[in-house]
């Protein structure tokens, strides 16, 4: 039920983002989605790829600091209030959500979001109990296609 997300440390300097992106492209690895968080001192690039183990090796051999974290892909209705409904479930259960970002693709009338919970297993149980569709990696990658 969980996906492995890779996080890459970035110094806050011009051109720092291109190093990991270039390393992945040279290895023929496609970034399915990414999010960038930064302060004026440093940044963190978070990304989802199909083969996270290989991508981690590629990035590390390029000299990047990489961390892998389990995240959860959740399907929400792509209309006003679609995300709000899911967030309400999370809030009411007082489950700690660290951050989230979206996949760029749409399938039918659904959008897919990446959620980083402090306790992903507890969050998955909660979401499924409340009828939220949590996607498996295979299922997700199938939808994205090639």
């Amino acid at each position: 039920m969980k996906l492995n997300q890779l996080s890459v440390f970035l110094e806050n300097k011009p051109g720092r983002l291109s190093k990991p992106c270039h390393a992945l492209s040279s290895a023929g690895i496609n970034i399915l989605t990414l999010s960038l968080a930064d302060t004026h001192q440093f940044g963190i690039l978070r990304l989802i790829v199909r083969d996270w183990k290989r991508a981690k090796e590629v990035l590390e051999s390029a000299g990047c600091i990489v961390n892998s974290t389990e995240v959860v892909a959740i399907e929400v209705a792509d209309r006003p209030g679609g995300l709000a409904a899911v967030l309400e479930v999370i809030e009411q259960a007082k489950v700690n959500l660290e951050y989230m970002y979206a996949f760029t693709f749409r399938s039918r009338d659904k959008a897919v979001l990446v959620f980083r919970f402090e306790d992903p297993d507890a969050a998955i149980r909660l979401l499924q109990d409340n009828g939220v569709n949590v996607l498996k990696d295979v299922e997700l990658f199938d939808r994205i296609g090639q």
């Binding site: 440390f9 000299g63 600091i65 961390n67």
Partner: protein, 443 residues
């Protein structure tokens, strides 16, 4: 030939004009006395026994070279008061300077030491134009640092009025200088520049300030800085030198001729040595200054290695003072940095990093002075195992480094986290410090 001085050349103490031959006699007597006074200080007791030193064995000033050196490390190993040469109840005051371990090196003074110290500060203040009718604005830090209190009592000894403002809050400094109309300013040269800049920002012209003199010390500076300070504030700036281990400010200072700082040789024996061979350099050559205190009671030091690099000049001075003069301090024989007047050792930064889990011992300290104030950037490599996807964890790591550096060194640094292996390593040993102030010729 008569020299034109910018103001009356007045001498505070006639000991300053003593003939060199008579002074050498006084120095020899005082050297024997101090060897006797420190004979029971454990460090010297042991070192003297090893070298067969007794007060009677000091027959000429050349015998100074048989005496052991004292280093900052020696003082640190005897923390806090292992070098005390008088009973503890004779201590009248303690000062201290920053050390590499976060603990200060303490320096003790008896009441007599404090009086000597005030006299020594009075000597250079009078040499630099201070008179009893003047008012002095002191913007040095007060506290364990010797600058504030040393100059404070020196000014009082001259009979002038003190405004003990202490450092910081520059707009308030400007307000007080404008409102109280002091005659002299006492602070570090870089803080004087900072005040000058604030004065300019307020739209006050150099001619509108009451200040006639600035007595600056506590850090190395240059002629260019002097010219800038003088031009911007319309005053005469004088350099003075000292270090707490020896007594504090008052070891030497400039006279109206401004051709070097007269060392108060009746109180301190000076040597200028090659820091590698520890042999004397030729007169006029640069070397490390080494001082022996001749009159201090509470905590005399024998051949204290200052690590300050300067040159000596014994040519006669037009002011009539007979003491040898030292040049500006042009460098250090160790890696100590002086940042906004505070002594900082790279090993202190290392210690701060060791306290923070999650940082590699790879760091680079960059010092610069973009405007008038020193700025320090510490770049720290982070380790793969400590990196997390959470921004808050990384920010926490950053802030902890920031706090530890401040708590150990007392200065605020810009902390930058960098990728591993990005800091230059040469011969397996990392280059720790880049001082852009040196490239810019700021000292």
């Amino acid at each position: 030939m008569t020299t034109q001085f910018p103001f009356e050349n007045r001498i505070y103490d006639k000991a300053e004009t003593m003939s060199p031959a008579r002074r050498r006699g006084l120095q020899l007597k005082r050297l024997r006395d101090v060897v006797d006074r420190v004979a029971e200080v454990p460090f010297y007791k042991e070192a003297f026994a090893r070298a067969g030193i007794t007060p009677e064995s000091i027959r000429s000033l050349d015998d100074l070279r048989r005496l052991p050196f004292t280093t900052k490390d020696d003082l640190r190993r005897h923390y806090p008061l292992g070098f005390l040469a008088v009973p503890r109840d004779k201590i009248a005051r303690l000062h201290g300077s920053s050390g590499t371990t976060g603990k200060p090196t303490f320096v003790a003074y008896t009441a007599e030491d404090l009086s000597t110290w005030a006299d020594l500060c009075a000597r250079f203040l009078v040499a630099g134009g201070l008179r009893s009718e003047h008012m002095v604005h002191i913007a040095f830090g007060y506290g364990l640092f010797t600058g504030g209190f040393g100059l404070h009592y020196g000014v009082e000894r001259v009979g002038a009025a003190v405004v003990p403002v202490a450092s910081g809050n520059t707009p308030r400094q400007v307000m007080l200088i404008r409102d109280l109309r002091p005659d002299a300013l006492v602070c570090t040269p870089s803080y004087a520049l900072n005040i000058a800049e604030a004065v300019r920002t307020e739209g006050i012209g150099p001619g509108e300030l009451s200040l006639k003199f600035a007595h600056l010390g506590g850090e190395p500076w240059t002629e260019d800085m002097r010219i800038q300070i003088e031009r911007e504030m319309g005053l005469l700036a004088f350099n003075n030198y000292g270090l707490s281990e020896v007594i504090g400010p008052g070891v030497s200072g400039e006279c109206a001729a401004r051709c070097g700082m007269h060392i108060q040789e009746d109180h301190f024996l000076v040597e200028c040595l090659d820091p590698d061979t520890l042999e004397p350099v030729a007169m006029g050559q640069r070397g490390e200054l080494v001082f022996t205190t001749l009159t201090r009671q509470a905590m005399p030091v024998i051949r204290y290695r200052t690590r300050d690099i300067a040159a000596l000049d014994e040519a006669p001075c037009p002011c009539g003072r007979t003491a040898v003069r030292m040049s500006r301090v042009v460098g250090r024989s160790d890696d100590m940095l002086i940042i906004r007047g505070v002594n900082v050792f790279p090993s202190q930064i290392e210690e701060a990093l060791l306290r923070v889990e999650g940082t590699a011992p790879h760091y680079l300290i960059e010092v610069d002075r973009p405007g008038t104030m020193d700025e320090v950037t510490v770049r720290v490599e982070i380790r793969a195992g400590d990196f997390s996807d959470k921004m808050s964890r990384l920010q926490e790591l950053h802030d902890r480094i920031d706090r530890e550096i401040q708590s150990i060194t007392g200065i605020r640094a810009n902390v930058e986290l960098v990728e591993p292996q990005t800091l230059e390593r040469s011969m397996g040993k990392a280059k720790r410090v880049i001082d852009h102030r040196r490239e810019k010729g700021l000292f």
